[in-house]
């Protein structure tokens, strides 16, 4: 179970593979559910050229750790991984990676979705977009359900 804030761009599928190999759980997980959130170059009808991702150092890490632990308590999981980018982000960059390994798919699907919804609704991150019209704070995350 690992969660981490990243200040540099990361390639989510390479990270996944590396983490999975280090887990040494080959043959035990039947189900891996993954979500990758990437930066789009369009939001609310405007072209977005870059984004500054701010967080609350200390609280953000604590919050990601807590939801990971909650998922591990609530579903039958072998492991989970959360990576979240901060700092200057460009279109197509990965913003967030959530991955969950389980023996069975129900647990993997539900836990990955739980982690994303909790992260989006409560983890202290804030996005400021740079658009052709200037800078603007993103005001609300949509509910995913």
């Amino acid at each position: 179970m690992h969660s981490e804030i990243r200040e540099q761009a990361f390639e989510p599928y390479a990270e996944l593979l590396q983490y999975q190999q280090a887990m040494q759980a080959a043959g035990r997980y039947g189900a891996t559910a993954v979500f990758v959130g990437s930066m789009r170059d369009l939001n609310e009808g405007e072209s977005v050229t870059a984004m500054e991702l701010e967080h609350y150092p200390g609280m953000t890490e604590k919050y990601l750790q807590r939801i990971s632990q909650h998922a591990a308590d609530h579903w039958n999981l072998l492991d989970s991984l959360i990576l979240h980018r901060v700092g200057r982000v460009e279109p197509d960059d990965a913003i967030v990676l959530v991955a969950v390994w389980s023996a069975h798919r129900k647990d993997a699907f539900e836990a990955s979705r739980y982690l994303m919804e909790e992260l989006k609704s409560k983890a202290p991150f804030w996005k400021k977009e740079q658009t052709s019209e200037g800078e603007r704070w993103v005001e609300n995350n949509t509910a995913g359900y």
């Binding site: 983890a123 991150f125 804030w126 400021k128 609300n140 995350n141």
Partner: protein
């Protein structure tokens, strides 16, 4: 008692600073920390509040050495 106050994102920009330190002589709630740290600015309706990095509400009491943070709705992920 001493209280560390933090502001993030658009709230930080509105208030014009990211941190403040309060010296208080009597017990305060989170709402009173906000009032003292912002010269009695109105508490935004959708503001989120944390004490020692845990979400709390505005009535929560604050203790000596606590860190209290105010920030707008989160937009990560």
């Amino acid at each position: 008692m001493t209280i560390e106050v933090k502001f993030f994102a658009s709230l930080r920009e509105q208030i014009g600073r990211s941190e403040a330190r309060l010296a208080a002589s009597e017990p305060l709630s989170v709402a009173e920390v906000w009032a003292q740290a912002t010269d009695n600015a109105e508490l935004p309706v959708n503001v989120l509040m944390a004490r020692n990095m845990e979400y709390v509400d505005s009535a929560t009491p604050v203790h000596d050495g606590d860190e209290v943070a105010f920030f707008p709705p989160v937009t990560g992920g």
